[in-house]
């Protein structure tokens, strides 16, 4: 059959039109999400930018809106995040490594796996209830940073476990076989290869988990974070022996979302501004953490190309 250039050209042109349609549709969908976020942020900044000054960051909350600051909330959030990280990271990584490398594939492991994934979907307030009975009363940690940190650790544990497993699964079997073929034991393979090569993925999961935890309000409220804290927890480092103190773990505290909530529920417009300003800070912190996760992932991807 002789080559019909016209027909082919028409066919290609029609295909290309659909290309254009999809590009436009995709862009529109993307814009919906991006614009919503941008508008939210713009709204927050518009309302709260005026309050963002050094005093806002260094003042305690106060009944006078213009003198209220987020110092205790920020410190509280940071300390709670610290406890969360210290608790969730080793537990999550160890659990992920165990499930991927050591556990045999039988019905017990299946059940564990299903439950871990389900945990990620449990409403966070349920974690609060659990924490109340387990940490606050059961173990007697009281309404403290320790309880809050452990609660949030439980919350983000599934995220870390799953991302650890995904990162480990990304390691090609040929690398493992290479290590075993050299006479490595299972522990040596895990220690020298599996964990180091999945660090990128693990870290990403950790940061995403923490970014989520920083904004969690329900469980913290449930275990009784107070909303008007005009003091800081005792410093961990002291001038006298023993130089390291753990008193701060048992201290009452507040966190950023709760502080925002508190200001929002006040009628005065000035407090609304404060809330907006705190919201900006919170969003920026979250965005920074997510950016750090992306940067880390890109950096590790450069070193390790599977």
């Amino acid at each position: 059959m002789p080559y019909d250039a016209q027909a082919v050209r028409r066919l290609v042109a029609r295909g290309k039109q659909w290309d254009k349609v999809f590009v436009i549709a995709g862009l529109l969908c993307l814009m919906v999400g991006v614009l919503t976020l941008a508008l939210l942020l713009a709204g927050l900044i518009h309302d709260g930018a005026g309050r963002l000054n050094w005093e806002f960051f260094s003042n305690f909350p106060s009944r006078r809106a213009e003198r209220a600051g987020i110092l205790s909330a920020m410190v509280g959030s940071s300390l709670v995040m610290l406890v969360t990280a210290l608790a969730a990271i080793p537990l999550g990584i160890a659990a992920g490594v165990y499930l991927e490398e050591y556990a045999r594939r039988n019905w017990v492991t299946e059940i564990i796996e299903i439950n871990v994934t389900n945990l990620a979907g449990v409403p966070s307030i349920i974690y609060g209830l659990l924490a109340l009975s387990l940490f606050v009363y059961g173990m007697g940690f009281g309404q403290s940073i320790l309880s809050a940190g452990l609660t949030l650790a439980l919350l983000i544990l599934p995220v870390i476990i799953v991302s650890t497993r995904e990162a480990i699964r990304a390691i090609p079997g040929s690398i493992r076989e290479g290590a075993y073929a050299l006479g490595a034991t299972r522990w040596q393979t895990v220690r020298d290869h599996v964990v180091p090569y999945s660090t990128g993925g693990i870290l990403t999961g950790v940061i995403i988990g923490l970014a989520r935890a920083i904004g969690e309000t329900a469980p913290i409220i449930t275990i009784g974070a107070l909303t008007f804290i005009a003091f800081l927890p005792p410093a961990p480092l002291g001038a006298e022996f023993p130089f390291l103190s753990f008193e701060w773990l048992r201290s009452p505290f507040t966190v950023m979302p709760i502080q925002m909530f508190n200001w929002l529920s006040r009628p005065q417009a000035a407090f609304q501004e404060n809330a907006a300003a705190a919201g900006v800070v919170l969003v920026v912190m979250t965005l920074l953490m997510n950016a750090a996760a992306i940067w880390l992932r890109a950096r590790y991807r450069k070193r390790i190309k599977w």
Partner: protein
């Protein structure tokens, strides 16, 4: 004129083969219910290259991996029969023998180069670390020897701390060979080592295998018959999990005893 593999192997041994490094006897292997190897008996001559050829799915890689107990890493695998390793006369398939110990004496190079995402030095030194070597000086010496044996030293001696991934495919494979050699194994297993490489890299590695014979016994699986003809002293032809014929490479390629071997070698059968 098909003779049973055991008889053929027996004849080979009587016909004046050099001392053996290993001997597989009535080896069978099962993946769950599926039998992948059927009563394979084959000698492995010391300081010689033995090639395993055969169509896809004939069991040559499965057979190779029995030697360093790689199948133990996966559930559902079962061995029967023996592989007796000299000079101690131990059956390395015995459950009582620790696979880690076996892998300490037998090295393996894989089809697709699989260097660790570490530096060149760390790649080659890993086997030494696993064996508890701590002295940096000793490791540096052994790494150099291994890289020289693998014909890679000239090209990387000035950048040992570079990431292994920056090397070309052929260089990576030589790195993997150096990595396996660093621990001074007695037997080296090559699983289609050049099938992912271009002709020049392939030729380099074949030359390297030839020179390594003096130090190590070599067992190589290849789907490239001409490679088997070029590189090996003895050739074994496998088909559907059985050893069909084993013999001197010269004889196998000029006048094989079995029609199945003849058909495969001359391209009458894929």
């Amino acid at each position: 004129m098909d003779m049973s593999a055991g008889v053929i192997a027996g004849q080979a041994a009587d016909a004046g083969m050099p001392p053996l490094k290993a001997q597989a006897s009535e080896l069978e292997f099962f993946y769950g219910e599926v039998q992948a190897l059927k009563r394979v008996s084959m000698p492995v001559a010391a300081n010689r290259v033995t090639a395993l050829i055969g169509p896809s799915g004939c069991g040559k890689s499965t057979f190779l991996r029995c030697f360093n107990r790689m199948h133990d890493l996966y559930d559902g695998s079962r061995y029967s029969g023996q592989i007796v390793f000299q000079p101690d006369g131990v059956n390395i398939l015995d459950r009582a023998v620790d696979p880690i110990e076996v892998r300490m004496r037998i090295g393996m190079v894989f089809q697709k180069p699989n260097p660790f995402p570490k530096s060149i030095f760390e790649n080659v030194a890993y086997g030494l670390r696993v064996r508890g070597e701590r002295s940096r000086r000793v490791m540096a010496e052994k790494v150099e020897v291994a890289l020289r044996d693998a014909s890679l030293w000239e090209e990387v001696s000035d950048r040992l701390d570079d990431m292994a991934f920056n090397l070309s495919g052929g260089q990576q494979q030589r790195l993997c060979i150096a990595r396996a050699l660093a621990t001074e194994p007695e037997l080296m297993l090559f699983d289609e080592p050049t099938s992912a490489l271009d002709p020049i890299a392939t030729a380099n590695i074949e030359e390297l295998i030839h020179r390594l014979k003096d130090k190590v016994t070599i067992l190589i699986v290849t789907h490239n018959m001409q490679q088997a003809a070029r590189v090996s002293d003895y050739t074994a032809f496998m088909y559907l999990g059985e050893l069909v014929e084993f013999g001197d490479t010269n004889l196998i390629f000029t006048n094989p005893k079995s029609k199945r071997t003849e058909d495969y070698i001359t391209g009458r059968y894929g």
